[in-house]
């Protein structure tokens, strides 16, 4: 307990508890080795000079048997870039399950009638439904035939193939099948080696997805579209219509979106996305690779933005306007903020008396646990603890720690693409002098400060939280609302505490932008003040003693 001694000088308090004691409680039940590993993934936050925060172990192997939230590489790969993209056929090469579970189970809304060909394959599930004979004799023949059948039945303009666990083991070469079928059919066909066992979480799948979309799609269409202030919105998945709300605000400001990775997305927009002049990153974890590669190959800078929270939205819009450095846009953005904010403020001032001081915990994703703190802060709620499911140290501590991150065996197996400036298409959008000037104005390029610097001292940061720790945190702190996903929802609610799903939004939303913020305030008001939690005890449990009995007749 060495780090406990170090902390003794400053005894921090978290909701009247000593966070170090709480941490020790969380670890007490674990076998020694497990406790040692988990103790590096559970950190008491302390923000020092230059936003320095304690190191947290993350993106490390899941402990067998501990029960957590994470999914696999396939889930991250199929889910992130192409799953929400409507005009491509995604074939899962494997037994039926993986395709089935990823069929319409993320709420990526899409508007197919907004693109010319009106293609939309999102409501479909395509699978090779591998049987034991393919496991024994190989599945390439069936995959080849499945691609042909997909083409014959649906005439898509592109087909992607996703490998599941057994495919890697039996050695099917999906990439050579894809190359062969691409040549034969004359449409874009490419594959993802995203077997579920790769990496330590869905994060590996994000990286693989980013790589392949960059290799096979980005840069195929050089058409420069009409419109001013052209941006790509990266890491925005249009859950509950978030991207539609951001789109509405952008349209009002005059900002043009070339492509969104990936919500309401189209493969045509991806192939054209290198024509944008700025990349905006929402979910840093899942998509920063594409932004980095576009910067290197095409000269498009990226900035981190956040449209979750009214103030965060205003701040992000100002950043974008600052980048383009055009008075017309700066004025327009200010005008839009002035138009939209009063209604948002009115909403939270009305709701705030009912939410002020209520306690929140958030354990979700690779960016949402950070972003949603904005909205809870606006409601005056108190964040006690937060953590990610699949993030890396840079998402917690900020990108400045990247050089010090040790690459372990699991991450080393995920391909790192060598990207160099494109001889014909590399064109830095800003000169080094302009970039310097913008940085001096406070616009940070290729940077994300991470979640921990934004959180209070003494809060508990828990990476890859387990079911045991979840239950313990609830017992200890009795939070007023807990944010996680569907697998955690009902166990938390059995404790009598509402759980807000921050993956699927409990089928509500949008929560992004100004209108989204209002939706979220109302939703949290409903959840923390709902009458239903007050009925848990029956009248006879509240007053078990019979003080008087009815005397009949």
């Amino acid at each position: 307990m060495a780090d406990r001694n170090q902390q003794q000088e400053v005894v921090m308090s978290l909701d009247e508890q000593n966070p170090e004691t709480v941490k020790a409680d969380l670890l007490r039940r674990y076998p020694i080795k497990i406790a040692r590993k988990r103790s590096k993934q559970i950190v008491v936050n302390k923000v020092g000079a230059c936003d320095d925060v304690p190191q947290i172990s993350s993106n490390v192997r899941t402990i067998p048997g501990l029960i957590g939230q994470r999914g696999c590489c396939y889930a991250g790969c199929k889910g992130v870039v192409l799953g929400p993209t409507r005009d491509i056929i995604n074939i899962t090469h494997g037994p039926i399950g993986c395709g089935f579970y990823s069929w319409l189970t993320r709420r990526n809304q899409t508007d197919p009638d907004s693109s010319e060909d009106k293609h939309n394959f999102i409501p479909y599930c395509f699978s090779t439904d591998m049987q034991d004979e393919e496991i024994i004799f190989g599945g390439e023949r069936k995959l080849r035939k499945a691609i042909q059948e997909a083409y014959d039945n649906f005439k898509p303009k592109a087909i992607a193939v996703f490998a599941t666990c057994p495919v890697g083991l039996i050695g099917d070469d999906i990439h050579s099948v894809c190359r062969e079928m691409k040549e034969k059919l004359g449409i874009n066909v490419f594959g993802f080696s995203c077997e579920g066992y790769k990496g330590v979480s869905q994060s590996a799948g994000h990286h693989i997805a980013n790589n392949q979309i960059f290799k096979h799609v980005v840069g195929l269409d050089d058409t420069v579209r009409e419109g001013e202030y052209k941006v790509n919105l990266l890491g925005e998945y249009n859950i509950g219509g978030d991207a539609f709300e951001i789109d509405r605000i952008f349209k009002k400001c005059g900002i043009s979106i070339v492509s969104t990775y990936s919500g309401n997305s189209s493969i045509d927009d991806f192939s054209n996305s290198h024509t944008a002049d700025l990349n905006l990153i929402m979910c840093h974890r899942s998509i920063n690779y594409v932004a980095e590669m576009m910067d290197k190959k095409y000269g498009i800078p990226w900035i981190k933005i956040n449209f979750i929270g009214a103030e965060a939205t205003a701040k992000s819009l100002r950043k974008i306007a600052g980048y383009f450095n055009d008075q017309k846009l700066i004025d327009r953005v200010e005008q839009v903020i002035a138009e939209e904010l009063p209604e948002v403020k009115k909403a939270y001032l009305e709701i705030r008396p009912r939410t002020e001081g209520k306690k929140v915990m958030l354990f979700v994703g690779g960016s949402r646990a950070h972003h949603y703190q904005e909205l809870f802060n606006e409601l005056g709620m108190k964040i006690l603890s937060a953590g990610y499911e699949f993030a890396h140290r840079d998402d917690y501590e900020g990108r400045k720690v990247i050089p010090s991150i040790k690459v372990d065996a699991d991450s080393r197996n995920i391909e790192e693409l060598e990207v160099t400036p494109d001889p014909g298409k590399y064109s830095p959008r800003k000169s080094p002098e302009e970039m310097n000037a913008l940085e001096n104005q406070g616009i940070k390029f290729s940077d994300y400060e991470g979640m921990m610097p934004a959180m209070k001292d003494g809060t508990l940061i828990i990476d890859d939280i387990s079911q045991f720790e979840t239950d313990a945190m609830i017992e200890i702190f009795k939070p007023d609302i807990f944010c996680a996903g569907i697998k955690e929802k009902y166990s938390v609610q059995k404790h009598g505490i509402p759980l807000k799903q921050l993956h699927s939004y409990d089928y509500g939303g949008p929560y992004a932008g100004f209108k989204g913020a209002i939706n979220f305030y109302k939703e949290i008001d409903r959840m923390v003040n709902s009458k239903v939690w007050g009925y848990i005890k029956a009248p006879w449990e509240k007053n078990p003693e019979l003080t008087a009995t009815y005397a009949w007749g």
Binding site: R61, G65, G99, F100, P166, Y490, K537
Partner: protein, 459 residues
Amino acid sequence: MLLRHTTKEIMERSALTVNPAKTCQPVGAMYASLGIHGCLPHSHGSQGCYAYHRTALTRHYKEPVIAATSAFTEGASVFGGQANLLQAIDNIFAVYNPDVIAVHTTCLSETIGDDIPQIINKAKADGKIPDGKYVIHANTPSYVGSHITGFSNMTKAMVDYFSSQNGPKQKTINLIPGYVEPSDMSEIKRIAREMGISSLMFPDTSQVLNGPMTGHYQMFPAGGSKIKDLQSTGNSLGTIAMGRMASLAAARALDAKCKVPYEMIDLPIGLQATDIFVDSLRKMAGVNVPESLSIERGQLLDVITDMQQYFFGKRVALVGDPDQVLALTKFLVSIDMYPVYIVTGSAAGKKYQKALEEATKDIPHEVKIKVGGDMLLLHQWIKNLSVDLLIGNTYVKYIAKDEDIPFIRFGFPILDRIGHSYFPTVGYKGGLRLVEKILDAVLDRKDRDSTDINFELVL
């Protein structure tokens, strides 16, 4: 249009499944394991499997679904998952302390060829399994069969690991309910109780996946088959197994292992299938059917006669799991409806196909049956000639909306409505609910489509 690329033209497909009507074995094994009291299901594979299965079951039941995983990495996939499973067993007993860990395999661990009994023996030898605790297993390769196969394999594992002839024959009857809702399991038990019969059900997910809100979370809820009951199934008088695909393997294994004879019947969905269930119980236990059940039967029949005019001749399309689809087809035919398109996702064999053909042979329409089909094919049939009613899981609502057909949710998964885990569709009471749902769907459509002139107050 949601399914805007589905064409009327049907092309032969042999390699590509589109919109499957089945999923993989492990999720069924996980569901069955939850029907053992104090059991933690364990998925021996990469962590994505248990994440997906827990998600699917949670969304269907709106209840906690707890399970663990071996969390294979690339290394484990090369060298085998023994170390991961041993570590998992150690951690699970230390941290969560279940009575039983029920291990099921995945396509990953099956392709590697991990020998689970050997690993369990090693865990035992290493002292990783505390006294009085159990680790059981079922092989559930995802590339064979479907979720029903997985359910069946785990149910059979309960016999393999627990059942014994450890005492004198009891007057008890074993009930293997098949892959049905917790509400159905309660109802099947209630019918036996109503007849004064002592029964042992396995698996039994009632009060596990339809538990109460108490303000106290219990990882291992009150429900589930108890270990001592599973052990004494070998002493029972007989077994009634419901739904051949989900329950036959366990019933046969129990007969072979402990000489407990079994009767294999359809799922008790609808009047006649429930009659067969009640009659089997009566004969096996040697009891009389109580008046209370005769009243329930009479009520169901009464309602059917009242509604029959609206059922007669309605064309129905039906998709789902084999045991449900067969029982439902027979029921629909018995109330004068015409199940004209029938699809199961699981391949259930030629005999099964014949049973469906036999059940529908008197329907005066062309009847299309595909055992081991998918929802794209069903949709294409509908595009060629429509139906009056659709019955299937939540995914069918995309077809229902596009084709504007009344739709009843039935089967697994139901992701968008609540109630199925609380209200049974088996037994006479369940039959009442089923015909109410059918009538509501048919008459809501009639009301919607009526003109102002022929819109009726009384129907």
